[in-house]
Symmetry: C2
Subunit: 337 residues, 2 copies
Amino acid sequence: MGRAPSTSGSSLELFDIDLDRAMELIKKSGAKIVGIQVPEGLKRMASEVAKEIVEKTGAEVIVSGDPCYGACDVDLDLCRVADLVIHIGHSEMLEGDPLLDKIVYIEARMKADVKETVEKATDILSARRVGVVTTVQHVHKLDDIVEVLEKSGIEAVVRTGGKRTRYLGQVLGCNYEAARDLDVDEYVFVGTGQFHPLGVALASGKKVVAADPVTGNVSVIDTTPMLKRRYGAIARALDAEKVAVLVSKKPGQKRADLARKMAALGEEHGKEMVLVYLDRVEPEVLINLGVNAAVCTACPRIALDDQAKYPVPILTPPEFEILLGVRRGDYPLDEIE
Amino acid sequence: MGRAPSTSGSSLELFDIDLDRAMELIKKSGAKIVGIQVPEGLKRMASEVAKEIVEKTGAEVIVSGDPCYGACDVDLDLCRVADLVIHIGHSEMLEGDPLLDKIVYIEARMKADVKETVEKATDILSARRVGVVTTVQHVHKLDDIVEVLEKSGIEAVVRTGGKRTRYLGQVLGCNYEAARDLDVDEYVFVGTGQFHPLGVALASGKKVVAADPVTGNVSVIDTTPMLKRRYGAIARALDAEKVAVLVSKKPGQKRADLARKMAALGEEHGKEMVLVYLDRVEPEVLINLGVNAAVCTACPRIALDDQAKYPVPILTPPEFEILLGVRRGDYPLDEIE
């Protein structure tokens, strides 16, 4: 299954989703077949949205039934059979394939107030200049975040993110450019879960305070447990003779050139390497292929978040370079540009 | 995951696989990138075959890492990135898409002797004229089967299968044409598992003796438990208000027109129907979509073999017609022509 879907567990009432815009675009396009793709946590809305589209536009609607992990994971097969695809919950990321032109991105903006939680975060921020980062679900609250920080006498610094992002201060599970090269000593991350703020801490090397507007929890991120786990995985993969290099079919996770580079590097160092092309990284495939380890060039979270469910160590490409001894220095976070 | 992979549990030593033919075709084609697709039970051979192709032809090799359930489930994404794809373990089935022209089918022929088991089967066959059916793994043993039957004074009758098959007497999990309209009173099925002989019994309405050359077991097929389960599923789906119609992305399981027909039929009968396009039928998607039942137009085995793992009743299209009251008579087996 790869990793847990991106908004899993969130309920529909938590989000503002601009469906009127979707309806207008469908009518304007004259689409006869409309596809809908939503992440798992919002999937329950799919049939309601489908019904509304049928009633308001007369188009036939087809819902994507495969899990969706982000804008990196747009359903190109659905694009092949539909005239227009409504992709709900993520900001636009990809370009290049003409099929992508069929997609309309309708973001899901979390209604949750951020002010109270950021206020709490100021108690454990010690710097006077703080970098602000968040995810697409909260980017529309950036002004609120900055306002609370500045009221507490903290200067908020925000920068543009990587090419895969659309908003100031936006980070992704695979991209932390918005948390780099800022002249600050600390970061505040506003959003849910531990993965993104861990990424911010590893990418920036700075103290990160995570403020979760849904639970109201505020915490200082400790990277040590994850680093221990990752160096443990690298150590366990040291003796692996046969290593799979996983290449994703998902349009925004497909790093074929990087995979070829890893395969060549492994062969140079005496490993037997096999290139594997797949949609979802499942534990079974690694068992059935009979490999002792894998290098995953798909979503970095597969290795970093989900190692426990796999029967063999799964390394990110820079971790594999550490294993081979061709990379040294601080722990290298795998990011997709 | 859909259902259990087609040759799961089989070990490589059980099969004859003509890899020399694959090597010749690769060399002749001048392919620079060669894809390999194998069912799960044979996946362990993938890296060995990959190595051999690299050594003998110099091509780059990419292995399909997604589960493979049959020739209906060829990896078109792999065809998009490879110059030639070696599909191991199934006989050719599909045509139409130009991507399919890249595929070379290398069948896996089971070495197991069939004579002894068919001999055993003659003890429980009572008819003097018997229809013979088998799967692609044993079709090369058809002469042996016929010889044993005729030695016991039984006339063996064999006919061509459906369009999706390639050999006399060949049945598929989704097609039993080779077991129809024969002037016989009984059938002997040679092969592994219970699903195919159950299909033969339902399709023919005749007594079926299953002879498994791997285990050596011989048994008379009883369709009652399966029919009870299926009518039970239909009964449980009677009150379903919201029903998903599942359409497979797999090239040989995509029955979009049938799905549209089922959706229209359901709507006419007051059900809320939602068309769902997906690669694998997972229990989670049905929960997340919030449907009370599903009509599966993908592989018939998903409903018939795997119902237990799904949270809601999954019906085949003809079963859904029974539910709606638009079909009567004997239990209608879902087949793909």
